[in-house]
Symmetry: C2
Subunit: 242 residues, 2 copies
């Protein structure tokens, strides 16, 4: 009996996800974008276990992990901690993607424009929703984080990082777009390099920031659909240098 | 000697304002938009004096001021408190514009697209920056408010209200745009009617919300340039009904 109840629950979940996927597709249907349902990742920061990844490269000596605001000039040769979960893994830039896929089971999607559908927005902070996005010959990491910067007041922070150097990141622009209930919010910026550490981007607030009330206005049945687009244009069309 | 020092200071201020105006114009130069420098308005909420406006209409009986979330069905006949400063003035919708101009000396600008340049962003909360915007046959009120929703953490809230009924407001879409330092933030929504009270819009967070760090990234020399556009389109182009 329990087995059938669980099966029925699973089928209902699948129908619900399919429905959310369908609705997100309708909203972001202009370019037939790929919609990806992203489940929350519980932060390992507060968990007793540590991820079991083996250090990917042992040929060269490993330098200490990068710190906030540190400028890494020759990052191809520098190791860095995995930017997520305060995972103690260290490795070269070239193997970050395989580490994220293998150890943290983060999906990778293809395409210039995709829709990131984060589920279970109600979960308590800290929670991350993460996906990798492969386009224009590079891999990007989208991180949506629910965090309490001010105690008792969780906010959502969304940013895109290039799995590459800061110099490479300067060649791209990413756009995050929320669109629901006759409201639209767009954030455009140059992605940061993954070497700069996602924690510092979020603590600086240099990303898309949503209060809980605004996140609720944009979410549907506890899921938040974020349209993502990446372009190579270096200069914003209507922006002059100030 | 003091006179000359003061004159020199005033000239420097003028040059500074002119420079800010010029820079804002460069950023939002696409359509040759009108740039308006808006100085902060100190909230009268905490001041002992009350504004001395005379009630504009005495022919009809005056109903109590509107409350948050109250739905006003026949607002042409209903009076409402002035939406700003907790001013005790009451009057009909048709005379709100003249009250705001005469009593609160709020400027009114013409044109579908303007740039709102709010100065002195560093001033402590609560502070309002307000302007009226006349376009498409209607008057709109742009309110930028610095407020501490969470003690010790001021945020900026920007919204546009139609000086008209909720039904009239439904016919418009307003867009607020920040654009600086290779970052762009756009907020699009249907304006609320001024009968709904600006305080409730801000406390609901149903507006453009900026943390102090993000406001600093978008501001230049303590001033924040916000591009404003109003259109009559009722439906967002890429939004399907969910």
């Amino acid at each position: 009996m329990l087995f059938f109840t669980q099966c029925f629950g699973a089928v209902l979940d699948l129908i619900h996800l399919r429905f959310q996927h369908y609705k997100a597709k309708r909203v972001f249907s202009a370019a037939g974008q790929l919609v990806c349902v992203v489940n929350p990742t519980h932060s390992l920061k507060y968990a007793p276990t540590r991820c079991a990844a083996v250090q990917a490269s042992t040929e060269q000596s490993i330098l200490p992990p990068c710190h906030h605001h540190e400028v890494v000039h020759d990052s191809q040769l520098l190791p860095c901690t995995c930017p997520l979960f305060s995972c103690p893994w260290e490795g070269h830039l070239e193997v970050v993607v395989s580490h994220l896929r293998q150890t943290h089971r983060i999906n990778i999607l293809q395409g210039a424009e995709i829709v990131f559908l984060a589920t279970d927005m109600h979960l308590p902070a800290p929670t991350d929703w993460i996906i990798m996005h492969s386009c224009l010959g590079h891999q990007f990491l989208l991180v949506l984080r629910k965090q309490e910067k001010y105690e008792g007041h969780p906010q959502f922070f969304a940013t895109m990082m290039l799995i590459g150097t800061p110099t490479q990141a300067d060649n791209f622009t990413y756009r995050l777009e929320l669109n629901r209930n006759q409201r639209r919010l767009k954030w455009e910026a140059t992605p940061r390099s993954i070497l700069e550490c996602v924690d510092s981007v979020i603590s600086d607030g240099d990303c898309l920031v949503l209060n809980t009330s605004l996140a609720q206005l944009f979410s549907d049945n506890g899921s938040l659909a974020i349209g993502i687009a990446i372009t190579t244009s270096k200069v914003h069309s209507s922006e002059a240098e100030m």
